[in-house]
Amino acid sequence: MDFLYHIIIMIGIYTILALAANIPVGLANLLSLAQAAFYGIGAYLSAFVLLNFNIPLLPGLFVVAITTGFFSLLISLASIRLKGDYFILAALGFQLIVFSVLYNWTDVTKGPYGISGIPPPRLFAFIELTANFQFAILSVSLAALTSFLFYYLVKSPFGRVLKSIRSDELSVSISGRNVYQFKIIAFFLSAGFSASAGFLFAGYVKYIDPTSFTLDESIFILSALFIGGLGNVKGCIVGAAVIVILPELLRFAGLPDNIAANLRQIIYGLALILVMLYFPKGLAGDTMLK
């Protein structure tokens, strides 16, 4: 049973991460390669909050999401000043700097040793979430909440402006919208959502280290998004399910772990290429990358 819960928890986490990436990438067409950095910052802040403060789940989550949101200002600033390749490169740079800080600033982050013994989050100050099935429920409800919020975001006037920025930024600004403000909010929300996934991850695994938040992880999150498809909730859930379940199928096929790990990556990579070539809208997306 625990195995099933594990799968559910991971699908929940990656659904949230894919939805978070969907805001800048799918709605505003800003190809952000720094999603794992937000995820990582969120996870480390959560560890810090859970270890040091005795506050319940929801306020804790809220604080972590907002604080991570402020880190996103660095990226949104880059998205305002830089276009095309230069923005992509700046986001890549941000991702690597965050990793480098997590890895090397040993006084604070314990560097490569990571932070262990993270206490479980508590619901309403008395229910400790320790069992996996509790976590599975938490994960599913957070993913559902995020999906719900994302759905309303896409449908809302705010989402409409983001979608129009995607097709023609100049026309939006001469229609009286402050495009910069919209990009800043988009990244803020994206970072906040990613951080809540980080919170779940830190609380569930109880141990975090920098290697979970590398550039590869950013690529992995984007793979989930592109395989599933851009612009809606459905694509993110499908994408997350595919990338979480696929390696488990390989394990059932009886492949040794070390081969399965590489093989899994090969399949994602191939999927990414094939999606770009033949299914630009992914398995269930609304729009394609521009």
């Binding site: 809302s156 705010f158 129009s164 995607r166 009286g176 919208r177 729009t287």
Partner: protein, 265 residues
């Protein structure tokens, strides 16, 4: 007559990439006035600086010195969105509709409102948000039926993506979208360029609607001389970043100087 837009001593130059010292002047002491509630045409050859002038007015081109006054307030160094909110609407060259958005959403985006564009506003204040949206939709319907008749294709296909429309229809939609903004000055960059002849009359009537029906000022760049004569009450001829002739379109276009400059004779 009262002026709505007043440009004085506009200078714009950039250092050429290649010869580092030499700077190229796009505008040198350009001054002009646009009269309120009139249709003014801005004509001139390629590279005369017409579109750049529009960019300066709407805040997209930075680095100009001089003053741009709009309805008594200076807008020279404001951001594009602030200039739009003050009441200057702009039609770009080309189609420029939001292709993935529905026709209705394209219209609604054209209205300058930002109260409900805060994330999750529709979640927190559902009723208020819906009422607001409804108001905008009604306005869109009113504009579309006034311009194109009560059962026009735009309203019928309002939930379809605007990208499916033909170029001429996209152009008309962009004009209608502009009317959503209640601007007092409309800058139209080549409204008829690349449009099939059948749409030109509709574009003309949309411009007339802007002007006579809602008493708004229109400044348009146009290469189609028939259209200029037909529409404009006043004409500015621009060459190398300067206004070299102004007056009634027939007089301006008949002047030898303009014909020589335009045709390179």
């Amino acid at each position: 007559m009262e002026t709505i837009l007043n440009i004085s001593n506009l200078n714009l130059s950039f250092i050429s990439d290649r010869q580092k010292e030499e700077s190229l002047f796009l505008f040198r002491d350009l001054s002009l006035e646009i009269e309120r509630e009139k249709i003014t045409a801005l004509v001139g050859g390629n590279g005369a600086g017409k579109t750049t002038l529009f960019n300066v007015i709407s805040g997209l081109q930075r680095g100009a010195s001089g003053k741009v006054n709009f309805q008594g307030s200076e807008i020279t160094r404001l951001s594009p969105y602030k200039i739009a909110r003050l009441g200057i609407g702009r039609l770009f060259q080309g189609a420029r509709v939001f292709e993935e958005l529905s026709i209705l959403d394209n219209m609604v985006i054209g209205a300058i409102h930002h109260a409900n564009e805060i994330p999750f506003y529709n979640l927190l204040f559902y009723r208020k948000s819906m009422a607001f949206e409804k108001g905008l939709e009604e306005k869109a319907e009113a504009i579309l039926s006034e311009l194109f008749g009560s059962n026009n294709i735009f309203w019928e296909d309002r939930i379809k993506p605007a990208g499916n429309l033909s170029f001429g229809h996209q152009r008309l939609l962009a004009m209608a979208r502009l009317l959503m903004g209640n601007y007092s000055l409309y800058l139209l960059d080549e409204p008829t360029a690349g449009v099939h002849v059948q749409f030109i009359e509709q574009i003309a009537s949309a411009i007339r609607h802007m002007n006579s029906h809602s008493h708004k000022t229109v400044l348009l760049i146009e290469h189609n001389m028939h259209f200029v004569r037909q529409m404009a009450e006043y004409c500015l001829y621009m060459e190398n970043g300067k206004i070299i002739a102004k007056g009634h379109p027939n007089d301006v276009l008949a002047s030898d100087q303009v014909q020589q400059s335009y045709m390179g004779i």
